[in-house]
């Protein structure tokens, strides 16, 4: 029997996530590239988790703690800044008339988006 090690399991996750990334992202229209870059930028702020986990370790030196607090602060800036900026950008698209061409993804959103054109 072949036992999956932590490494091989993680590598499998890595490869599959890469493919999901390609497939999901390939569909984004040009006009949304800036928000998309900003949104994915926010998502890699997830390195915050690494900082949190390491801060949980016993026996960290003072210097390590300083580094980790900076890392946590950086990660937090990345996350909250990234999502807020993306939200601000996207808000500007929200009250606009529906774009002419739409695929499945847009349909239900279009319906939920009735009384628009607010000034």
């Amino acid at each position: 029997m072949i036992l999956a090690s932590t490494l091989t399991t993680n590598l499998a996750i890595l490869v599959l996530a890469g493919f999901i990334g390609f497939v999901v992202i390939s569909k984004v229209p040009n006009t949304l590239h800036t928000p998309l870059m900003s949104g994915t930028n926010a998502i890699h702020g997830i390195v915050l988790l690494g900082g949190l986990l390491l801060l949980g370790l016993a026996g960290l030196s003072a210097f390590s703690k300083v580094l980790l607090v900076i890392a946590v602060a950086f990660g937090t800036i990345n996350i909250v800044g990234g999502f807020l900026v993306t939200d601000r950008m996207l808000e500007m698209f929200k009250s606009k008339p529906k774009p002419p061409s739409h695929d499945g993804e847009g349909k239900d959103a279009g319906a939920a988006h009735g009384g628009q054109d607010g000034k």
Partner: protein
């Protein structure tokens, strides 16, 4: 055992935390799917944000978590800096803001890897193993080096005394190098876009490639040595410094016009380094989120490079502006003196009697915050029965979609925005093309001059229209440092001035006609 206590124990179970991570990355994927359409994008972004909140909470549930004061401190600092920055940044400054947020992400990765290394170094030196602790949330779902050996670490202490499992070291070192490059590269990109640093390439000349290569080799050599078991702090710091210098050396020579591509590439880098950190820490949320960003960033980078007819290696190797500026200058010599300037009143008359006007916005509109004035002008023209649309080059401004965001802010209807492929066939039946602060994306040299550095880049073919009005601050060449032949064509008139002032003046003149 009280109900509260058993509930707490349930919440801290490894599998429960793992499930929360799975929910979190499912939300990331769903959120990115939402970003595929303008109407679902807001929701998509919020979905991803919820996923992030879940991932953070799950991590804090980890029973080995400690140092709550420091965690609170770090998060508080991050909030205090990030929230106001994101709320107050102007839409025009968005590209550099994204660069900065990307940079701090890369910085976090590098710092985390450094602490990991310090921690491994110390604990192994003391004969103690921290593998169990380093595995986040004690996720020992899988037997293997990180799990079984970690738990039984003391027994295997001799075998492992040379360092952490090799793959952990490899991924940590990778994350440290790439994170450091991304941090410094993004900061330079920020400096250039914010115009703290000059937008033109800063290069070491012919030595540039050699220097980059040496820095890369040094960083890699240090990394290999560390993976092989060297425990020198100095070596690790040296590796970080080499990577930092490399980040600077790679981005400094890149001309401003290539900057969006660079930011996107660094975004992908940070994602990949986050994924590597995830493998080193055995954290599925990090792996999935980081890898998705790595994949999406790569696609985006490629799309942008294709739109500019540039290859990514050519951009990274630098030298967009160097030769271009020289050739552009000689081009300027041939044409000098044939530029015709116009006034707001003349431009207003020209526009008022047109049937069809296409507005070509560029970075100049963004810096001048002219989008609202442009919208007002459009309304004036439409009131007179002029058909107005906007032609958006994929890399107009300094990021794909930059112009769309700005014009959307000014309430320009989405269907008036034409992408390049739709806009170009329309120019021959356009009476006036109004170019507002766009330069390189309209430069006919991209079609006509094989020696031009932008030769082959798809452009908006504004010179096909009956006449062209260019609003521009001065005759200075654009961000890429190349002269624009368009300005010397007989059908082109130049209206010099700040885009916002000029457009407002035209609108004012129009209303008096």
């Amino acid at each position: 055992m009280s109900a509260v206590a058993s509930a707490t124990i349930f919440l801290q179970r490894e599998s429960f935390i793992y499930v929360l991570y799975i929910i979190a990355f499912a939300l990331f994927i769903q959120g990115l799917r939402g970003l595929a359409g303008p109407t679902s994008a807001v929701r998509g972004n919020r979905t991803a944000a919820v996923g992030m909140a879940i991932a953070v909470i799950a991590t804090l549930l980890n029973r080995e978590e400690g140092n709550w004061g420091l965690i609170a401190l770090g998060i508080a600092i991050g909030m205090a800096v990030g929230v106001p920055a994101a709320r107050q940044v102007k839409m025009t400054a968005m590209p550099q803001m994204v660069a900065l947020f990307n940079g701090v992400g890369g910085g976090a990765v590098a710092l985390i890897s450094w602490v990991e290394f310090r921690n491994y170094g110390n604990s192994y030196a003391q004969g103690k193993l921290l593998v169990t602790n380093v595995n986040p949330a004690g996720l020992h779902a899988f037997p293997g080096p990180g799990g079984i050996i970690g738990r039984a670490g003391v027994l295997h202490g001799v075998a492992l005394s040379s360092g952490p499992p090799t793959y952990v070291a490899i991924f940590s070192v990778f994350a440290a190098i790439v994170g450091s490059i991304s941090f410094w590269g993004s900061n330079i990109a920020f400096g250039k876009l914010q115009e703290i640093l000059p937008g033109r390439p800063i290069t070491l000349g012919a030595a540039q490639q050699a220097v980059n290569l040496v820095l890369l080799v040094l960083a890699l050599a240090a990394g290999v040595d560390l993976v092989a078991g060297a425990h020198s702090q100095l070596l690790f710091i040296g590796m970080l410094v080499c990577a930092a210098l490399l980040g600077n050396a790679v981005v400094l020579p890149i001309g401003g016009a290539d900057m969006p591509v660079v930011i996107s590439m660094l975004n992908a880098f940070t994602g990949l380094s986050a994924a590597a950190t995830g493998v080193a820490l055995n954290n599925p949320a990090l792996i999935v989120a980081g890898m998705i960003v790595g994949a999406s960033g790569s696609i985006l980078t490629n799309l942008m490079a294709v739109a500019m007819n540039r290859s990514i290696p050519a951009i990274v190797a630098g030298g967009f502006g160097g030769t271009g500026a020289v050739e552009g200058a000689s081009g300027a010599g041939e044409h000098a003196g044939t530029v015709r300037s116009t006034t707001a009143a003349d431009a207003a008359i020209q526009l008022a009697y047109a049937n069809r006007v296409v507005i070509v916005p560029g970075y100049g509109m963004a810096v001048a915050q002219a989008q609202h004035a442009v919208r007002e002008l459009t309304k004036e023209l439409e009131a007179r029965g002029v058909e107005v649309s906007y032609a958006i080059h994929p890399v107009a401004g300094r990021m794909p979609g930059h112009m769309n965001v700005l014009l959307a802010e000014a309430d320009v209807p989405y269907d008036q925005l034409k992408e390049m492929d739709d806009a170009n066939p329309e120019f021959p039946r356009t009476d006036v093309a109004l170019v507002i602060g766009a330069n390189d994306v309209t430069n006919p040299a991209a079609k006509n001059t094989p020696s031009s550095p932008i030769y082959g880049m798809p452009i908006l073919e504004v010179s096909d229209s009956a006449s062209v009005i260019v609003i521009k601050r001065s005759m200075n060449p654009g961000f890429a440092g190349i002269e624009n032949e368009l300005y010397y064509e007989p059908k082109t008139t130049m209206l010099f001035g700040d885009a916002k002032t000029a457009v407002s003046e035209i609108a004012a003149e129009l209303s008096q006609l």
